[in-house]
């Protein structure tokens, strides 16, 4: 398995775990972002960290977006006091609509398949202009355009032939 295939495999498997942990039947862009932020020692993880987005910060930003969006219709999670449900079954979640879009954009952003780098995956996730991820980043005070530039710089500096 090539390094990029190994990276994609790891990120998608870990995104599936994030999806299950959050009770989601599908892998969405935010689950991919969490998985990318968790891959220590990779270029996209370093770019995220340089913008203050380590794994915990991404998790906190997504939580904040959830509460913020609920509050827009007068709903508070704190009002629900049911016991936490058991971890969902091991059935692997399917890739969801926003997860698919992020991966399609990642592949489309590399000139050729052999030019694909881990940072392209982050590039694909960050290209979404609407939805949970850009809202979470905005609420966390992250400049998405600046972050996109940093990712592009990282790809350019990675010696793509």
């Amino acid at each position: 398995m090539s390094p990029i295939d190994a990276y994609l495999h790891t990120v998608i498997m870990e995104a599936a775990t994030e999806a299950r942990r959050q009770g989601s039947a599908t892998i969405e862009a935010q689950h991919l972002l969490l998985a990318v932020a968790a891959q220590e020692g990779t270029a996209p993880q370093r770019v995220l960290a340089s913008a203050g987005l380590d794994y915990q910060a991404v998790l906190a930003a997504l939580d904040r977006e959830f509460d913020h969006s609920l509050s827009a219709v007068g709903v508070s999670r704190a009002a629900f006091n049911l016991p936490r449900p058991s971890m969902p079954s091991k059935r692997p979640p399917d890739i969801g609509a926003t997860g698919k879009l992020a991966l399609e954009r990642a592949f489309a952003s590399a000139p050729r398949k052999k030019d694909l780098r881990p940072a392209h995956v982050l590039l694909g996730i960050l290209q979404a202009e609407v939805g949970t991820v850009p809202r979470a980043l905005a609420l966390a005070g992250v400049d998405r355009a600046d972050l996109l530039n940093r990712v592009r710089d990282a790809i350019a500096g990675d010696g793509v032939e």
């Binding site: 959050q22 959830f66 016991p83 058991s86 971890m87 939805g131």
Partner: protein
């Protein structure tokens, strides 16, 4: 509360995001509520009728998870 009293966010992005967040919250609430009911001895047909879905739908969605969690499931309705 009537439908007209539900606050509708002015920004379409906020309104659409609220739909996503409410669906996610409803899914989480369903997981917790079904588990709570089954632990309390409810049957699948009772849970399904209370949720307004078919017995097959509720079973397909929750049975594996509850069995994995060690919840003792009633096989038949009373």
């Amino acid at each position: 509360m009537s439908a007209s009293e539900i606050p509708v966010p002015q920004d379409p992005a906020d309104a659409l995001a609220a739909v996503v967040a409410l669906r996610r919250l409803a899914d989480q609430l369903e997981d917790a509520a079904v588990e709570q009911a089954m632990r309390a001895g409810w049957s699948w047909p009772q849970v399904a009728e209370a949720l307004g879905v078919t017995r097959q739908a509720v079973h397909r969605k929750h049975a594996k998870r509850l069995i994995a969690a060690g919840v003792k499931l009633r096989r038949r309705s009373p």
